[in-house]
């Protein structure tokens, strides 16, 4: 029996910043007009929110109308450990590694605050922008093997304050996203999933050019892999639901995939920028809400996470 997404919810912080504002603050390494040509306009910036607070907000929204006690598992895939509770501008406390603070985990706290009394929790990490894909993979596998009915996947990630707002030619946003995965769901059904990890690229800064070179052909390969697993051909894909690493990179990738530009749901790239955790699912939620994605549509979701991970998902609405 397959699993599907019973609900998708997300939360953005209150703040926004335009490319010009980010440039003025020294947050960009690429000229703002270039990033503008790559499809970006503004990003979401935390003002007084913590990653945890946004994660909690997204999770609450995902569970609206759901009995918390019906959730069997919570998979957390966001900012790890005590850093999840840190507020913007708050001075970093001394290393928590030597204190019990290192065991302040956001996953168990979410379980408690959401009242998921039956749920066990754990975290997945080191997948960067492919984290929710990894959480889904685990959720589906455990739903199948352990007979779990409902799994809540939560990811919340802010780009480190000192790191600016750019990660290899894209413009990053702070955000949280939560997915409620149901075993046997008939809508937003996950048909197939594929991932490629290439640890050679573990040093993002040291292998920038190689990552750019590897990104496109490996993305094509993982997409072909997921389509094959789903038993689809390219023409079956109604919508490509992207990660927002730039409109330009998608235009190139669509060329490799031989998919028309019209199938790309790209409305959010300009207004949201690239969130580290949930682009594809935030885009999907908005596309569903807007009625652009309809029941029966076949969706291709693809994301790349530093590390390096290429992840793809085939879904049927």
């Amino acid at each position: 029996m397959s699993a599907g997404l019973a609900s998708i919810a997300y939360a953005f912080p209150r703040g926004r910043a335009t490319l010009a504002e980010l440039a003025a603050q020294g947050q960009l390494t690429t000229r703002p007009e270039v990033l503008g040509r790559f499809g970006f306009e503004e990003v979401r910036v935390a003002v007084d929110e913590s990653p945890y607070a946004l994660g909690l907000e997204a999770a609450r929204a995902a569970l609206r109308g759901v009995d918390p006690e019906s959730v069997d598992l919570l998979v957390y895939a966001g900012t790890p450990s005590a850093a999840a509770f840190q507020l913007p501008g708050e001075p970093r406390s001394r290393s928590v590694l030597g204190t019990l603070d290192r065991f302040k985990y956001p996953g168990p706290r979410l379980q408690f605050e959401l009242g998921l009394v039956r749920a066990t929790t754990f975290a997945v990490g080191e997948l960067a922008c492919a984290s929710l894909f990894g959480a889904l993979r685990v959720a589906r596998a455990l739903a199948e093997s352990e007979g779990l009915k409902r799994v809540l996947c939560v990811a919340s990630e802010f780009f480190p304050e000192e790191a600016g707002r750019e990660a290899l030619f894209n413009c990053t946003s702070d955000a949280a996203c939560a997915l409620l995965v149901e075993h046997g769901a008939t809508r937003n059904r996950i048909v197939a999933q594929a991932q490629v990890t290439k640890g050679y690229y573990w040093d993002c800064e040291g292998s920038r050019e190689e990552i750019v070179a590897s990104y496109f052909p490996t993305a094509r390969r993982v997409v072909e892999d997921v389509l094959q697993k789903a038993g689809w051909i390219r023409e079956d894909v109604t919508w490509v639901i992207p990660h927002n690493v730039s409109l330009r990179s998608w235009e190139v990738l669509l060329g490799l995939l031989r998919l028309p530009r019209a199938r790309l749901y790209a409305s959010n790239i300009a207004r949201n920028g690239h969130t580290l955790v949930g682009d594809n699912f935030i885009n999907l939620a908005d596309a569903l809400e807007a009625g652009e994605v309809r029941p029966g549509d076949r969706l291709l979701l693809f994301s790349y996470g530093f590390g390096a991970h290429w992840s793809a998902l085939a879904m049927e609405v």
């Binding site: 640890g199 920038r208 070179a213 590897s214 496109f216 490799l256």
Partner: protein, 369 residues
């Protein structure tokens, strides 16, 4: 050509891949042949003779440079050569694709004009012109072993300057033979690469995991030929009395492998290298030109210096990959009695050679550049 008259050659480009190889093959095939080799320095002449071993005794280096009238030969040398040269084998050329047109012309076109004038002055009976199959420029489809019109335009200055040189040869009044190799890659028997060109540089970038995509179509042919076969063929056609006034494609022709098959084989061979395999380097995708140009434009806009350098290195020849063409080889095959060796048969040996030498040749070349 009068039968029985021992050939005496004046060879330009004798220190290069084709000129040097053809000189050796002529001396090998004709025990009574002699040659004068145009060299730019005395040391180059000494090195050439040494490299030729016992054959070097029949070679006399003469100092000169194709960029100068009479190839820069002293009047006394010209006097000595006058009436003695049977063949002027002109294989000197600037094979860098990135040169501005005027610089490419200085060697390839004006150099040919100088060589033709000298051939006439010396009374050489035949002018053998080593050209390139890519004088076809932007033409697509079947390319005949005939004069090219130049009407389709050219991908780079190298092609244009070589086309212009052919026009000079045909209009010179000299008895001529035009020989057009395609991309020369290695020795077919050993796989050894003695002169690095754009193909090897592109493979080096591929091996380094720095080539995401190339423009073209997996089904389109890529014409490659081995150096030993080319030089052997140049030597044979240089001395072949029936070759006069004709143009020969020294190409794989209809045997040129499709790009997809070549990439598949390349990937398979490189994957046998544990380091390459561990790095997980992807086989470059073959995309339409619009997608490639968009990627290229994006890299330019982002200003990453290393990526820009890589794309610039590829850009001078890459457009040829989007201009599918098959070089007719019937004339060459009939004259030589054999087609070019099958690319997919010797290609793995070349790749293994490059990998086992850690691309030393490519690196040296890159550093020199």
């Amino acid at each position: 050509m009068s039968p029985g008259h021992p050939p005496t050659l004046l060879v330009t480009g004798a220190t290069g891949l084709v000129g040097g190889g053809a000189l050796r093959a002529v001396l090998d095939a004709s025990p009574d042949a002699r040659a004068f080799a145009l060299v730019r320095t005395r040391d180059a002449g000494t090195a050439l003779r040494r490299a030729l071993g016992p054959l070097g005794a029949r070679v006399s280096p003469v100092l000169g440079d194709v960029r100068f009238p009479a190839l820069g030969l002293d009047a006394s040398v010209r006097s000595e050569l006058r009436g003695r040269i049977t063949h002027l084998l002109h294989s000197a050329g600037d094979i860098c694709f990135a040169r501005p047109l005027e610089q490419a012309r200085a060697v390839n076109t004006t150099g040919t004009a100088h060589a033709l004038e000298l051939a006439q002055d010396l009374g050489a009976r035949r002018f053998v012109h080593v050209s390139t199959a890519y004088v076809a420029g932007r033409a697509v489809g079947t390319v005949a072993e005939e004069p090219s019109s130049g009407a389709h335009g050219f991908v780079n200055a190298y092609e244009q300057s070589k086309h212009e040189a052919e026009v000079l040869v045909r209009g010179s009044g000299c008895e001529f033979v035009v020989l057009r190799p395609s991309s020369i890659v290695c020795d077919a028997r050993t796989g050894a690469v003695s002169q690095v060109n754009a193909v090897h540089r592109a493979l080096f970038l591929y091996f380094s995991g720095l080539v995401p995509m190339l423009p073209g179509d997996e089904r389109w042919p890529l014409d490659l030929v081995p150096a030993d076969w080319v030089t052997r063929s140049v030597a044979r056609l240089t001395l072949d009395p029936e070759a006069s006034g004709r143009t020969f494609h020294l190409c794989a022709g209809s045997g040129a492998p499709p790009l997809g098959a070549l990439f598949d084989l390349t990937d398979e061979v490189l994957r046998a290298d544990p380091d390459f395999r561990r790095r997980g380097v992807s086989r470059p995708d073959v995309v339409d030109l619009a997608t490639y140009r968009l990627f290229e434009q994006s890299v330019q806009e982002l200003g990453d210096p290393k990526l820009i350098r890589i794309l610039r290195a590829l850009s001078t020849f890459i457009e040829q990959m989007t201009l599918p063409k098959t070089f007719e080889t019937a004339g060459a095959e009939a004259a030589l009695g054999e087609p070019a060796p099958a690319v997919l048969e010797y290609w793995p040996r070349m790749l293994s050679h490059l990998v086992s030498t850690h691309w030393a040749v490519a690196r040296e070349n890159r550093e020199a550049a």
